[in-house]
Symmetry: C2
Amino acid sequence: MEKKIITLATLWTRSFSASLDEVLLRDGGRGRRMKIDHPEAAAVVPFVAEEEILMVRQYRYALGKETLEIPAGKLDPGETPEGCARRELLEETGYDAGKLTFLYTYAPAIGYSNERIHIFSARNLRKTEKKIDEREISSVKPYRLKRLREMMDKGLLVDGKTLLALFFAGLGRG
Amino acid sequence: MEKKIITLATLWTRSFSASLDEVLLRDGGRGRRMKIDHPEAAAVVPFVAEEEILMVRQYRYALGKETLEIPAGKLDPGETPEGCARRELLEETGYDAGKLTFLYTYAPAIGYSNERIHIFSARNLRKTEKKIDEREISSVKPYRLKRLREMMDKGLLVDGKTLLALFFAGLGRG
């Protein structure tokens, strides 16, 4: 293992932080490690039909462009992963989740982040009157699984949680 | 899009940085964004036999524990993704890659990182005399695909790049 000697500096956003730590390495030497301290997150594959998934477009500052993704977001304090998946689906698409099924929990960036993402699928969706959060979401559109597979064959889906969630939801088996 | 107004602070490791930027949001307001500026990386699914993959154990400071992963690492300056996959496989397992096949490029943590990981499979591996880098790697062991599938069914594989690479290498189709 590696043991923290001291935190040299920390940067904060409203919901997570990045720290640079000086650590004791396994060979007895010293090194520096960056650590993003991040809340857990939830992501949901929303089936609006047997072969059709709701996808959102969102601008991602770190990439400097928009990406096509499944709905997802950070857990609020005290919130369950399932509660978060349901809330994010409603906020980002205007749909109520109906039946949620847990698929997997994974860590997206173990080299520098403690984030863990809980993946769900949602079925029996129900459209509500809820307005979509337009500060975050550029557009919401249904995509047929066949089209998503074609986009994947061309390397057009880049978001890790979306790719992994589609696999866990059975996309690769078509 | 979101436009940077100013970088408020940056933390540096030897190979990447974390910056806190003040940005102009799409609605005209101001916000803060964390951005990990990270080199590209390569990860490789090394088939030592038709149904067997070399996996490494590595301590991950951000998670505070060891994880079971496929070999992977950051591209050195000027290095190609393929060259990096080949070097990391050699450094972490002592095996020469033989035939490398490109599978996919994805972004693991689009909420705060510009990292992109290039996934390869490797076949026709050849054991060399090269010593494994024991500062990074705790152990190297072959795992049968069947066993990896069972571990996945129990949620025991947590590393995103490993899970996604196993899917792209065909694990889900068994």
